[in-house]
Structures are given as structure tokens and as C-alpha cells.
Subunit: 294 residues, 2 copies
Amino acid sequence: MTTAALSSRPSSFSNQASKAILSANINEAGWRCHGNLWSNLREVCDLLHIAAPVSSVEEEVLFQHVRFKAGQRIHTIGQSFDTLYIVNSGFLKTVLIDEYGNEQVLSFPMKGDLLGIDGIHNQHHASEAVALSDCDIILLPYKIFTALGHTYAELEHAMFSVMSRELVREQLMIGMLSALSAEAKVARFLTNLGDRFSQLGYSGRSFNLRMTRHEIGSYLGLTLETVSRTLSAFNEMGLISVEQREICLLDPATLKTLRRLPPTKARNKVSEKVSTLVSKKLMPQWSADAAVAA
Amino acid sequence: MTTAALSSRPSSFSNQASKAILSANINEAGWRCHGNLWSNLREVCDLLHIAAPVSSVEEEVLFQHVRFKAGQRIHTIGQSFDTLYIVNSGFLKTVLIDEYGNEQVLSFPMKGDLLGIDGIHNQHHASEAVALSDCDIILLPYKIFTALGHTYAELEHAMFSVMSRELVREQLMIGMLSALSAEAKVARFLTNLGDRFSQLGYSGRSFNLRMTRHEIGSYLGLTLETVSRTLSAFNEMGLISVEQREICLLDPATLKTLRRLPPTKARNKVSEKVSTLVSKKLMPQWSADAAVAA
DNA sequence: CGGAGTCTTGACGAGATTCAAGGCCAGTGG
DNA sequence: CCACTGGCCTTGAATCTCGTCAAGACTCCG
């Protein structure tokens, strides 16, 4: 954050000199881009939304930034694991490759997300992370990070917590994949994306997609045609406005509660009449403030 | 394992007496069932397939066993979290409840599996674990376990590793849910189950299902009718023999490679002719030893 | 024996995929 | 500057898989 990083490179080193050497010669990439080459523990914790340990030593350890261009891979399947990654800026996808070479999109990480957890088990990555835009990534050497966890108990718990959060996210994903209709999947995908953008301080109503229809489809277990058709349908109904990758959510509330006609097959027989009458037009009936629609 | 546990309860206590007091009065359940009420760290590590720390202190800490009857809940959604669970024996399911009260099955844990990880994040369980048969569960108080992790670095890494493994498992689940046909899902479900049974020393070819068709369907994102029909189809084709919950895998190799006619939509156009000719009958074409079929 | 829960099987239809054709957009090279 | 190319997106029509609804059989238990 010290200005004038361009002309006087040493200045950014002045208060960090001795410790930086620890990992300085690992990778020479991204020398002085955007003036933020190293982050201390506090910055890392802020990024991950976890409470930082209140100690002075934290300033001593620095983590290196690396830049990736769109299309580049942060890690690949089978690659041996020794570091975790935090997204500092940019947009990516993580994918699985099945036995026939087809990509299966697992997530779309963005600022503040942790990558590479899948590599801890048996020391090799099970998935692949690809930059969808230019990215700034922070390297967290696993050994160093767990060592820090030993001295700061809060940090260790936070690490478990982040992994647990990731696990819960995937569980919800499984629930969504196996129980929702195509319309509901796309609707929730859009609102989730919007929510994540607003958490980052951007507009949650109006944004542009960084991924192709094909990638969205892979993520949601649909074909690209179905995704496209669904977006067009939402557009015509006035729920969103869409033009290529430019999206605007006009009625987020309705999108959030949009669902399959009978959700799986429902134990509550009460709703059946309403369901068949109203839900045909994709309108959720018992959203608290559905009166507006009429 | 000392015999005569019934009449002389004190005998099973003789060699553990002083240490057990540590946590003896936490919970009075399961007093002397099957003679194995407490496990030390080594036993726990063996169960989880992780290397146990080579120390003497480990004998000091004991973990309590609790028994659950079929239908009982180990933890419920929203319940506050403070302990992890290891399955020592028995069969369970973990489920999510969606906004309309429908169950979504997430996994079928059995011996050696770790439960409750989803609770670490924000201290409340996000899912629910239900015993499908009578179960013997080991309690791992989270605080105690992480404290042990502090003194034994291997243990901490092992904990991360187990969580990572769980994450990878869920990723594969996502891939399977969104890319495979109903037949392929059921086929892989059966072979996975078989593999898990054989890892535990049981027969991987012949076993009985502990869950209903409805639960299988929920797990795979299918209806119970589709599951039933698919099993019947496999039965007629001689791939399995099935009678109610009694399953025998007659051709595991074929089942493992069974897939959708076009897997997702395939980049490899080569296979299309073969595919349309052969795959209509659900036979995988390029399984190494497919020649047997003819 | 009767009843509840589970499983099987059939007929039908709706929703999603597949196949195909054409439009939009950006980058490239003449 | 413009035509050309390739990737991405849209839209339509035909197909098919899977879900829905319904009826009946099996099993376990009181």
C-alpha cells in the first residue's frame, strides 16, 4: 500500500526485507503489478472473512501474489499438491475431467475464495482450476499455513471452518442438482451470483457473466441450449433482462423462490391445486409477498 | 472382547479404570453393550485409516461409544455443534431438508466414516444423520480433538486430509449427478457400495441394501420408480440378481463402465456409430473385456 | 388376518436433450 | 476497410428419457 512502488522497488521491501527471502525465490512471476506483490496474514484473513489472530508476529510472514492470464491453469488434475490459493481478484472455474475427457464444472471461484483444498488428501489435486479472466492469486504454502495454525489456535479453527463451509456449499449444490427443475437451477444460479457480487461490493442486480452457456450448463447439469432457452424465457417474462453476457435481475425475489412444479413430489398435498394452476406459468405461489404479481 | 461381560461388569473396567473418569460422566448411555465402551486414539485412527501418532500419551485419552437404534438421529439440522462422530458399526444416512420439507439424501455412512464435519462452520449442523440400522458411534469432542492435533502434527494433517477426502467425494458425486444417465447412476451406486463393503472385509458382490428405493432415488436424483425399473432391467440382463433388498453383482466390470448413450454429448465423434448400434442395449462398448458378451 | 410400508409394473405425458440451421460478435488477414 | 473465420448464442422441431399417476403384489408385524 506504500505508493511509489514503481520507481523505487526497494521501498516496498524496506520493512519486510529479511522475511520475504523465505519464499522470494520460489517463483519470479508478476514482479510489480498493481503494487501489491505480498500480503501479510492479516490481509489473507480479511480476504477469507476469518478473524485474524491479534498478534504482532503476523506481520513477519508474507505470502506471494501470482498473476494468471485468462485461460491459464492455476493447478491441474494429478499435479502434486503443496500450496493453497486465495483469489485476490479475477474470476475462475474449477473443473473435473471425466473418463471420456468431458469437462464438469464444479464451481466459479472469485475474490476471497480458497482453491486447492481437494489436493490435501493424498497430495495430488483431484480437480483443475482455470482462470476465466486475468487473476491475481495469493499463494499459501500448505506447510507454512499449518505451522501458523499451530501457533495461532484461532487460525487453525478458521481453516477447519473454511473447509467445512466449502463442504456445506457442495452439499447444497448436490441438493439443488438432484431436486430442482431446469428453470429453478438457472434462477438460483443467477441470484447466487448476484448475492456473491453484492457481498464483494459490486451490483448484485446488474452484472455480466464471465462464463459461457456451456460452462453454466455443465455446472448445473443442463445443456447449453436449455440454459439459453431458460434465460430467454425469463427475459420474456420480465424476470431478468439478458443480452449476451449482460444480465440484469429485474425480480430477484421471484427468481429466488422459483421452483419445479411439484418440487420432488411433495408430502404436502395441500398445495396441489394451487400448484397446477399457478406454477405452470413458473410463478411461485407462496412467496410471502406474491401479491404484487397480481 | 473379554468374555463374561454380562455377569461381572467390573472386569471390563479393570484395566481402564483411572483414565475413564476423564469423561465418564458426560453421558450415561450404552453402559456395557458388546464390551467396547471406550476407544483410545490408536483405535480411532485405525478406524479412520490414518496413521496414528507413535506416542505413549495417546493411551491416556479415551473416547466414548454411544449406541443408536435404527431410526434415531445422531444429530439434527440446526443443532449446535461440539462433537464429531465416527461410525464404529452400523449403517446410516445423512440428509438435507429443503424449504418444503423434502428429504435429500447426501450420503450413506458406514464403518470408518466421519460424521458432523458440516457443523464446524458456524457451530451448527447443516445436515441430519439418521441411523438406518442399530449403530455404534464414537464421540470425538471437537475441542479435545483439535487440542490433540496441536500436540501431534500428523494427527492434524490427517484431520485435514479426511475433510479433503470428503470434499473430493462430494465433487465426484456432483459430477455423477449432473452428467450420468439413470442407468449409469444406479450402476455406479451399486458398484461403489460393493467396493465399500469389500474394503470392510465383507463380500463386495453379494450384500443387501439397508435403504429403501426412495432413499436411493433421493441420493441419486431419481424417483423410486426409476430406481426400481432400472434394477429390474439389470436383473433381466443378467448384470445383477435382485430380490427385494438382496443384491448380487453378477457383472461388476460392466456395471462400472455402464454409461449414457452419449455420455454428456461427447467430443469424440468416433464412437457415435458404435454407440448407436450397441449402446441402445445398455452395453458399454469399449470396456477392455467386452468380447465375452458375444 | 389385516394393514401399513415397500416394491414392481404399466401407461401416459411433460420436460429436457439432440440435431440442425442461422445470427451475432470479435479477431485476423488481405 | 471489409470479407472471412471461428466461437458463442439463439431458436425451432423431433425425440426420448424420466417423472407422474395408478393399480396391484410382497413382506413384515401386531
